[in-house]
């Protein structure tokens, strides 16, 4: 058995729904567990994801063939290093056209690379429609809906709301902490590995709890994927 290399495609049809936040959380999840990742920011104008991780993330402008090559070619390396694409909503259609025109998904599978689509919920009924359309177009692509409550104005979901296998939930975050994590240079993984002593213990505990709930979902997803490819079970 060889472990597959995962390619996380973080996308949504709408802007300002937290795609970069999701990509960032994933990136920090890998760094906090002392693993490497490679990221791709498709928004060449405001590459917020690339700015957060200058070492790991490259900018790939899908409007140019050079950008397409800078994205697609490295994704096919079955090197065990997870890849994260922050797919700008304006690049969404172009990305799927590129995927179709290059036969990317079949080639990825053949090389032991597993693409996973994280669709950041942009509200009913749009999200359900888009996800249904993507699933119809790519029947064997794993699609996970990310419900992002961190920045939404709606009340938080019931604490006991069922956590489905095919969704991630990013909990509501206190406005003060929202502002803190938005600060340039604030790293969620560094915070987890070495909490800053000058930060209020109340804030520290709240942020730690918020991040931990998200990271544990990523962790259990990875464990499920590992179990599913374990042949002797």
């Amino acid at each position: 058995m060889t472990a597959r290399t995962f390619v996380y495609i973080v996308c949504s049809l709408s802007g300002r729904v937290g795609k970069t936040t999701v990509a960032r959380l994933l990136g920090d999840y890998f760094l906090a567990s002392r693993r490497a990742f490679r990221g791709f920011d498709t928004d060449a104008h405001e590459p917020d994801f690339a700015t957060r991780f200058p070492e790991e993330v490259v900018i790939a402008d899908l409007n140019t063939i050079q950008g397409q090559m800078a994205l697609i070619d490295p994704l096919l390396a079955d090197d065990g290093v997870p890849k994260i694409i922050d797919l700008w909503h304006r690049a969404l259609e172009g990305f799927f056209t590129l995927v179709d025109n290059t036969g990317f998904i079949a080639e990825a599978r053949a090389r032991g690379v597993e693409p996973i689509l994280l669709y950041v919920d942009d509200g009913p009924p749009r999200a359900a429609e888009v996800v249904a359309r993507i699933e119809a177009r790519y029947p064997d692509l794993q699609v996970i809906v990310v419900k992002n409550e961190a920045t939404s104005q709606e009340p938080a979901a019931e604490p006991g709301a069922p956590q489905t296998l095919r969704s991630f939930r990013i909990g509501k975050l206190d406005p003060v902490l929202c502002a803190t994590i938005e600060l340039p240079g604030f790293s969620l993984s560094r915070f987890m590995l070495a909490p800053p002593p000058d930060m209020s213990i109340v804030l520290r505990a709240a942020l730690r709890d918020w991040i931990w709930r998200i990271f544990s979902q990523f962790k259990s997803f990875e464990l499920r994927m590992t179990l599913s490819e374990t042949e002797h079970l």
Binding site: I65, Q68, M69, I72, L76, N101, T102, G103, F104
Partner: protein, 247 residues
Amino acid sequence: MGHNQMKPTLIMVGADKGGVGKTTVARALLDYLASHNVIVRAFDTETPRGTLQRFHPGITEVVDINQTPDQMRILDTLNTSQVKVTLIDTRAGALASSLAALRDVGFLDAAKAGDFNFVLFHILGPSIASLSEINETAPFVTDAHYFLVKNYVNDSTFFDWDPATLQTYFGKVKNASEVTIPKLNAMAYEQVELAGTPLSTFVADKTASGDPANHSFTLRGYVRTWQNKNADEFNRIRLLDLVNGRA
């Protein structure tokens, strides 16, 4: 009909203008036929140095179709050669004269009599002028499977065909059908040119000698998708049936 009795087929690829991606279409045809286990020999009339020969050196000879010895090399062996399908990539601007040469040596009459299949791919350029080429070609091809190829491969600003004008010209040729070769990404086109190998070798990421080539997957993916679209077109016109004498 068994393979032994298969009627020989001559496929001619030509254009009356250079730079319309003629050799690319010839390459697409050779790859398509090879992928369907049709063995083809090719002649390149781009003397003295062939373009097609650079990509398919093993099966391609460079000839001058206006010289009698070379005509004999091509035509006299159509029947005797083990390989029953022959493709000629005619030099730019020499389509009408090549057809005249085929007529003069009696090939067109033999095709008419049913001794040979004659398939002509006439590559149209991106301008209205190329439509008038059809006028020059039409008299020669009454008994050929005649395909007018709209070749978009390396030109994004292709002439927008006026259906009425096109229809006028199409009306002049009995049996003419259209084939569309879709656009290929410019950089993919360039790389596949530079690679100097058959398209399928490029897609398989190999060099001419069979070593790993390290071409970009993105570019290979574009070429593969483009090949698939070409195959759809060649399937649509039932090219395999034509070369197998089933049409």
